[in-house]
């Protein structure tokens, strides 16, 4: 992945500004000389810095990860497919244009107001899409570790959340992906331009991580299982690491959510269920149906950095 045209243009600009700097240096008029040297010199330095940042960004884009691939063959039982279909709703915001199953892929730039960073698709995950020739182990690695079949990092993929999926759940998800109706064809490969590479270097979208062993979900129906669901649903993206809430302070990152440790303890179970069934709050009012996918604002706002993830625990 390399934007040869963009890099060529910026090299031409560096050469031009460098030439103008030397020309200005030879001027006899002191004001023109120093004005020209400062302006053209600054432009030369800025262009050079942009080139270096972009080249490092392209290096990151092409970096390969050798996370091991599990030797797993998903059976695809009816129960797995049903469970996987339920979980696949976590993927619709990015992998479905109409935010409905099946996961036939999305042109992210068309669905969301992206800056012009290049070609960015959430791939078609149906049997006629992009993962047809992937092994089940490769798909599981992509979901939980954010690593493409070719070893590159899957940009924007919220693997830091999905790495919490249990072995059973991630296999159910794969079973569902394989069972979807073939819809459309493979989406184009993602290709970042010079601006995309620059942004990538200012942010860190590497999601590739090395998990330690498998994950087992807690006993269903328990509070521990509730925590498991909170973790795989990515609630902490918007509500904070301790679910203490976030404020919209203009900083890059996911949309801010309220303090759940303050709100939910005051709700009854019925109120909680009513909220998720209708969007209606116990005190009146409703919560709008946000459609912003996790990670999106971080791409649009390149200042955000993902912190390295801690080792995964069983």
């Amino acid at each position: 992945m390399f934007d040869i045209v963009g890099v060529f243009i910026i090299i031409v600009l560096i050469t031009l500004f460098g030439y103008l700097t030397t020309r200005a240096w030879k001027l006899k008029n002191a004001m023109l000389k120093w004005g020209g040297v400062i302006i053209a010199g600054l432009l030369t330095l800025i262009s050079t810095a942009l080139l270096v940042l972009a080249l490092v960004g392209f290096y990151k884009l092409n970096e390969r990860f050798d996370n091991p691939i599990a030797n797993v063959q998903v059976t695809g039982t009816a129960a797995q497919i049903a469970r996987g279909e339920q979980l696949a709703h976590m993927c619709v915001n990015c992998h479905a244009t109409d935010s409905q199953l099946p996961l036939s892929g999305t042109d992210m730039a068309a669905k969301f107001p992206f800056p012009p960073l290049g070609t960015l698709y959430a791939p078609n995950l149906t049997p006629s899409g992009n993962i047809t020739d992937w092994t089940d182990g490769e798909v599981i690695r992509a979901i939980r570790e954010g690593v493409h079949k070719n070893g590159r990092s899957l940009l924007v993929m919220p693997a830091e959340t999905f790495r919490n999926l249990s072995d059973d759940d991630v296999q159910a998800l794969v079973a569902y992906l394989r069972s979807q109706p073939a819809t459309g064809g493979p989406t184009p490969n993602n290709k970042f331009n010079l601006l995309g590479a620059l942004f990538l270097n200012l942010s860190d979208f590497r999601t590739a991580q090395q998990p330690e062993g498998s994950v087992t979900a807690p006993q269903p129906g328990t509070a521990e299982y509730g925590k498991y669901m909170v973790d795989i649903l990515g609630c902490r993206f918007c509500h904070g690491d301790q679910l203490q809430g976030k404020l919209d302070n203009g900083q890059p990152g996911p949309p801010p959510g309220p303090n759940l440790t303050l709100i939910v303890p005051k709700w009854t179970e019925d109120q909680f269920m009513t909220f998720f069934n209708t969007g209606k709050l116990p005190g009146g009012g409703t919560v709008p149906m946000l459609t912003l996918p996790a990670g999106f604002r971080s791409l649009a706002c390149p200042g955000r950095r993902y912190a390295p993830l801690p080792p995964m625990k069983n």
């Binding site: 339920q86 979980l87 696949a88 709703h89 976590m90 619709v92 915001n93 269903p220 129906g221 328990t222 509070a223 521990e224 299982y225 509730g226 925590k227 669901m229 909170v230 649903l233 990515g234 609630c235 993206f237 918007c238 904070g240 301790q242 679910l243 203490q244 809430g245 976030k246 404020l247 302070n249 309220p258 303090n259 759940l260 440790t261 303050l262 939910v264 303890p265 709700w267 179970e269 909680f272 269920m273 909220f275 998720f276 069934n277 969007g279 919560v287 149906m289 946000l290 459609t291 912003l292 996790a294």
Partner: protein, 33 residues
């Protein structure tokens, strides 16, 4: 994740388990407005 997505991705039993977890969380001071 938007609440309709959470609803679609969970069963009633899972939502109730989430409630059991969230309802018993100790208060953590959030960011001041």
């Amino acid at each position: 994740m938007p609440w309709p997505t959470v609803r679609a991705a969970t069963t009633d039993e899972e939502l109730m388990a989430m409630y059991a977890y969230l309802h018993n969380l100790p208060l953590v001071e959030g960011p001041a407005k």
